[in-house]
Amino acid sequence: MKKRILLITGLVFGFISAFQIYSDQTNELKASMERGKEIYLANCVTCHMANGQGVPNVFPPLAKSDYLMEDLDRSVKQILYGAQGEMKVNGVVYNGIMTGFDLSDKEVADLLNYIRNSWGNKGEIVKPNQVEKAK
């Protein structure tokens, strides 16, 4: 429903091209985030929790996470290949193991768009070709 309203909005103001680009981008990001949320709920929620808060001292937070937002390429690698060893997130040192996930470039992009734009995070839209490059 929301998508349709946005689409109509886009059509009405269609001739204002700048707005249209903005609107398309928003639509694209929203759709990607929606797909990403499902991927998140299937794979990530088990440790990082539904609100992205993680678990104190056990699983690092994604919500308002400096570590997450500072390095996109690193996030891509961690999602695909896993991570282990010490990492400092918002001043707290974590030392756990995360296993990698079998996801396509598009799925990784969707997932990143969701976690990088939820719970107070704000990031640029990530495209599948960026994932391909970062692998």
Partner: protein, 730 residues
């Protein structure tokens, strides 16, 4: 024991159930709280009927997911003439009265078919006689219907329960009449698994769920390098952990029956695992350390490019045929080790006492466990009770009872009941893998595009060689009588076994899971070379009419070309093979195995990035009479998904003498999104039932690879496919 019966051996058997000898599982493993029945009719060890109309049918074999706990009792229930919904099925323990009890080789239905029918029919006949005697009528005028005996002309009716006492007095008849197929009411229908409700509510006990009073839990550290030995260990840190009770060294039994290791025994599983982490073991890796997949692959390559060690079959004059051929084609296929990774990791329970021993847990071979228990404890087998739990997957892994040895040895030492639990890492790293190998195929065509010569040079890490068995090392690795042998005038098959420290064993459809892929892929290659339709090419080779081909292996002594052609034709018809649809590509494969016949078709599409997607799979199976339609279809569907997954993702690679994979992060299994929909067609047949649990697996990798060729022109000759699909070198 209330009933007084004639003292004869047979009568003893009939009522022995009263005392419950071996019929109720110990340690709270009984699936229900059965009150001891006042009056029981037990004409054989397969069933019990109580005067309260309770009917219990025992399932003799281990249930590993192949569905025997439902299908075997269905056979008894059919002849017993009872309402399927009113019976109770219990898992039997190991009991010599029940005959061989194991899960392997797709044999449960075919080898028990006659016995189980007779078991049911015997009970029914005795109940009929009892009723007829009571009424003073001819038994011929009575019939059994849904747990009652009816006297047709007088409308008299007695339930089985009401006849129990009288039936128990009768001699067991030597011969009984069996029903004809036309009268079957249960066999051939779709019955749901008898444990379904328990499984979905978490109530059904698997081996890992078993508990006994005072039971401890053990985990065992084994040498990561195959064949390594314990030099010394330091348990001081482990023993500091609260809850860790013992750390003990286990001696090796043999390379297949139990490796040496160090066991950490604790009050609960997690504590045992922590205790193990704190354990320091020094190992002597031995020679195993130099073994690797890379090295093995080089050996394979040398082997298939020289004269094979064992000449398995030679028909005609292959050399001459290749020389005079219009076209000759060669291709080399390579297959990796595979792990079994049953979802329930290895585990077993044992309670060894001074003069007796009770063991229980998931196994495909309760008899082997009993033998091992005798060997380890010195307790005679008659004092060893082997109970069976539901098994969370077998696939051949649990034909080995090495993990049961761990439990028996530990319990003997600590004089307490113990459950051994292997972690997934233990499971993947100490498996008996599907052998790895290489197959070089060579085919010749004459000017008419007819197949005139076929040569196989094969090499695998023979599992019988690993075991040190008397069997020829080619046994269960390659099949000299398999298609297309016998249909090509000039034929040559050579085999070279490879000895390795890497443990190998039976993995669902042993041998066939490689040979069917290789033979059915190369058949497709030759068909394309000949410019012929792959289905027509196969039918042409098989020739007209029906021939019984000699097949000197499991599933033999012969197989029928008529039945094989029938499944091929049906699969082509059901899948609309001849009609090409835009953007859809098809692959075909067919096979005879374990007495049954199968043909499979895979349809794939390619997305914008040329990534293949399976659109549909067809499988046509002729396994003779089908007992449980739902279970049979489940086996076909599951085997196809399993076979595809293994071919696409599965590989154990060895480096430094150990498996590089240890869990599902690196040893990939197929997941839902890659599992296709399967259309199963079971051929309606009056032939005796044959093996079904493994047959759908071997051909699917070939059908898929052949579909990939149809779509892309690329041959997938090396598994796992997903690793080599973009490799242009092979």
């Amino acid at each position: 024991m209330k009933t007084i019966v004639k003292v004869s051996r047979r009568n003893f058997l009939k009522v022995s159930g009263l005392a419950g000898t071996g019929l109720v599982l110990g340690f709270g493993l009984a699936s229900g709280k059965n009150k001891p029945l006042n009056n029981i009719f037990e004409p054989n060890a397969f069933l019990k009927i109580g005067s309260d109309n309770t009917i219990i049918i025992f399932s003799k074999n281990p249930e590993i997911g192949q569905g025997v706990k439902t299908s075997l009792p269905m056979i008894i229930a059919e002849e017993l003439e009872v309402d399927w919904n009113k019976i109770k099925v219990d898992q039997a323990p190991l009991d010599s009265r029940l005959g061989a009890q194991f899960a392997g080789g797709s044999t449960a239905i075919k080898t028990n078919w006659d016995t189980l029918r007779k078991a049911g029919a015997t009970a029914k006949t005795m109940l009929l006689t009892a009723a007829a005697t009571k009424w003073g009528v001819d038994a011929q005028q009575c019939k059994a219907v849904d747990g009652f005996i009816l006297h047709t002309s007088s409308n008299k009716k007695l339930s089985y329960g009401e006849l129990v006492e009288a039936a128990a007095q009768l001699e067991v008849p030597e011969e009984v009449a069996l029903k004809s197929k036309a009268d079957f009411k249960i066999i051939g229908t779709a019955k749901k698994g008898v444990d379904n409700q328990g499984i979905v509510t978490g109530v059904t006990q698997f081996g890992i769920d078993a508990r006994a009073e005072g039971m401890l839990v053990a985990v065992v550290e084994k040498c990561p390098v195959f064949g390594g030995k314990v030099v010394s260990y330091d348990a001081s840190e482990s023993l500091k952990i609260a809850g860790v009770k013992h750390v003990i060294q286990l001696d090796a039994i043999s390379s297949t029956a139990g490796l040496e290791g160090v066991a950490v025994v604790a009050t609960d599983t997690w504590t045992a695992m922590k205790g193990r982490k704190a354990l320091k073991v020094t190992w002597d890796y031995g020679e195993g350390e130099s073994e690797s997949s890379e090295k093995l692959s080089k050996t394979f390559y040398e082997n298939v490019n020289k004269k094979g060690e064992i000449a398995l079959r030679k028909d005609g004059d292959p050399e001459m045929a290749f020389e005079s051929a219009a076209q000759v084609h060669e291709a080399t296929y390579e297959l990796p080790f595979l792990s079994h990774v049953t979802m329930e990791p290895m585990n077993y329970c044992a309670d060894v006492k001074e003069n007796s021993c009770t063991v229980w847990g998931p196994t495909q071979v309760p008899g082997s466990v009993s033998r091992l228990a005798e060997m380890i404890t010195g307790i005679p087998r008659e004092n060893i009770q082997v109970n069976m739990t539901r098994v969370g997957g077998g696939f051949g892994r649990r034909l080995m009872a090495d993990y049961a040895s761990d439990a028996i040895a530990i319990s003997k030492t600590i004089k307490q009941p113990v459950q051994v639990v292997w972690t997934r890492e233990d499971d993947v790293q100490h498996d008996f893998y599907r052998p790895a190998g290489m197959f070089k195929l060579k085919g010749a065509l004459n000017a008419q595009g007819e197949l005139t010569a076929w040569e196989v040079k094969a090499t695998t890490t023979s599992r019988y060689l690993f075991r040190g068995s008397d069997n020829s090392p080619h046994a269960t690795e390659i099949f000299p009588d398999g298609f297309p042998a016998g249909f090509v005038k000039n034929f040559n098959m050579e085999y070279t076994p490879v000895k390795t420290v890497v443990p190998t064993g039976a993995w669902r459809a042993p041998g066939h899971n490689i040979t069917a892929f290789v033979d059915q892929s190369f058949t497709d290659e030759m068909a394309h070379l000949a410019g012929k339709d792959p289905v027509e090419f196969r039918l042409e080779l098989l020739g007209d009419g029906n021939k019984e081909m000699p097949y000197d292996d499991h599933g033999g002594p012969t197989y029928s070309t008529g039945r094989l052609k029938n499944v091929i034709k049906l699969a082509a018809e059901k899948s609309d093979w001849k009609n090409a649809k835009k953007g859809l590509y098809k692959g075909f494969a067919a096979h005879f195995m374990f007495g049954s016949y199968i043909a499979e078709v895979v349809t794939i599409s390619l997305d914008e990035n040329n990534i293949p997607k399976i659109e549909d799979v067809w499988a046509v199976v002729d396994c003779g009479i089908v007992v449980n339609k739902s279970g049979a279809m489940a086996q076909i569907e599951g085997g196809i998904v399993d076979g595809l997954g293994a071919a696409m993702f599965g590989a154990i690679t060895v480096k430094g003498g150990k498996s590089e994979q240890s869990n599902f992060d690196k040893y990939k299994l197929i997941r839902m999104k890659d599992a296709p929909h399967v259309n199963v067609h079971l051929v309606d047949s009056d032939e005796s039932p044959e093996g079904l649990g493994e047959i759908s697996l071997p051909t699917i990798s070939a059908a898929y690879a052949n579909a990939i060729f149809a779509a892309t022109g690329k041959r997938l000759r090396k598994q796992p496919f997903n690793e080599y699909i973009n490799d242009t070198s092979s």
